[in-house]
Subunit: 345 residues, 2 copies
């Protein structure tokens, strides 16, 4: 008879809803595609219908503890509203939490999706049992979430974890946020495509140029495919990506000295193309990383869950921050959304 | 009958010891100068004598709760030892906490001096009553300490808060830590002197050249004096200093979204020469800083304690991270050292 809660991932395209038990067991997952309704009220109708159906279905077997809703954008936690969101038209400044609570007659928590991905990986993924960790999500942009002592670190206004807008190059590329040289201009999927287009424009990257004009979608994945096939220009792009990701992580480790950083998002799976350069920068640029332990023999490869767990059992002062790929993929946020009402319940 | 504890600031030159009541009242402060003994055992003798004298003197009026000892360098909290310290010869890898506990028969806590400065400012200084804050200490290098929920944030190995070695310029000046472009190469007293020497070498900074060859000590203070007198080259140095301090703070705010950053250390008092540029970078480079509240009319001037306190009473989502000069000067660490045994007691 497990108590359960419902996690919602309200992205710009998909609406995903999952019932998860208190022990972390997935009971059921529903994905409502992008072809569904697009007005705010229709999305809320659809979400509440699905939550009610799932909560009704499983309430025989345990208590329904509430729903966590993950959304992209800047959230006012107290008010339960989105202050800013590029991908959810109509939701800004609308009392979405209050409206859903009214309909469901259940506890609802509204949270930033990157924060929930961190909580999900900490609960059931790569950082299971690691109290202090962060997720860096490498997608179109860079998202981030920090978990301290097993709880999301919100900071003063719920805006902590904006890793993507840390300045890495003071005179670097302009960013949509108004700054120059933000991390996401150097270590995101968009950055990879920009670097590829720059290489193509130089006239010296024929394989990239062919891929770009082939008619197939030209993105981080196709550039990664070229890198795997040995194309030097594509490989160079991922080396630069790894270098800047390493600079970002080195700074975060010097500041926070966390146990673990989990690298998620679509581009994270290109690990073998960027990890070596990332670790090189970490050793050079983080005295905290370098000081804490001798170089791990596996450090320039993927550290799987086993190595991570083993490292955790070493003595405290011997441990080095572990950098490891995410394990839950796009479900991390969904599990985190379910977790947030369990832990705060 | 106040309970009290004793704080010790064991720097490279001075040894300072203070008895402080649980309510934060200074009972007595002793400064033992640099002309004292210099071997490790002699320093420990002198320290223990002074602690015993003070604890004996005030034990009539309240309970002695223990001694906190602040030291520069990398500390193993569990072991109560210094792992690395440039300024305390003989102390590395020596069980200093155990030895002092043995002599005093009292609880002793060994802590990093920058962490204690943060705790001191949070307890009795500029961040009084602010739960989540950090201190950035601008001296020869840059120190840092983070307080979350009223407690020092140590991270995994007690090494959190190494703000001075966050990379600000990936291809910048080499740093003693092995990295390039560390914050302390751009926003410390040493950085100010280096920039001045570079300006002098260019042959275009006559006032700086005169000051450097005058026979008087040539340091951040004399360069600041020239800036105050209107020398354009000296002013430019502090503008650059403020710019890089702003870049560092913008990154920290994007990551941590703290309530307050307290700027301490010798150079912090040159506030009027660097604050404007620091705030310019903050607005441009931290979407978290920029998003949280409209521009504060006083933001480009010193925010005194009154404004800080007023800002704290605003609603949570309206508040902006406050950047303010430290209030306790070199006593911050001493108060923090006393606090650390009170709060952990």
């Amino acid at each position: 008879m497990p108590d359960f809660s419902i996690g919602v991932d309200l992205g710009g395209t998909n609406l995903r809803i999952a019932a998860v038990s208190g022990a972390g067991q997935l009971l059921e997952k529903v994905t409502l595609g992008s072809k569904g309704p697009s007005t705010r009220d229709a999305v809320i109708d659809q979400m509440c219908d699905a939550i009610q159906r799932l909560s009704g279905k499983y309430k025989e077997s345990g208590k329904f503890l509430g729903a966590g809703i993950g959304v992209p954008g800047i959230i006012d936690l107290q008010a339960g509203m989105l202050r800013k969101s590029a991908n959810l038209p109509g939701f800004e400044e609308y009392p979405v939490r209050a409206e859903i609570e009214r309909r469901l007659r259940a506890r609802v928590v509204l949270e930033n999706d990157a924060n929930l991905a961190a909580l999900g990986e900490q609960w059931l993924g790569a950082a299971r049992g690691v109290p202090n960790m962060a997720v860096v999500t490498l997608g179109t942009g860079i998202g981030g979430g920090i978990v301290l002592g097993g709880k999301i670190w919100h900071g003063m206004n719920g805006m902590a974890g904006e890793f993507g807008h840390v300045t890495l190059e003071p005179e670097g590329h302009p960013c949509g946020c108004g700054n120059r040289g933000c991390a996401e201009q150097y270590a995101s999927a968009s950055a990879i495509v920009r670097m590829a287009r720059e290489a193509i424009a130089s006239g010296e990257a024929p394989a990239l140029a062919r891929a770009a004009s082939s008619g197939a979608e030209f993105g981080a994945q196709s550039i990664y495919n070229l890198a795997v096939q040995g194309d030097e220009h594509a490989r160079r792009i991922f080396r630069s990506f790894g270098r800047y990701l390493g600079i970002l992580l080195a700074g975060l480790i010097n500041v926070l000295n966390l146990d673990m950083f989990v690298i998620g998002g679509g581009v994270s799976s290109a690990w073998d193309a960027y990890a070596r350069n990332m670790f090189e920068e970490l050793r050079e640029r983080s005295l905290v990383y370098a000081a804490t332990a001798p170089t791990h023999p596996l450090e320039s490869d993927s550290l799987g869950k086993e190595e991570g767990a083993a490292a955790q059992t070493e003595s405290r002062s011997q441990r080095k921050t572990i950098i490891t790929p995410a394990l839950l993929g796009s479900d991390a946020g969904l599990y985190g959304a379910a977790r947030v009402t369990l832990s705060a319940g």
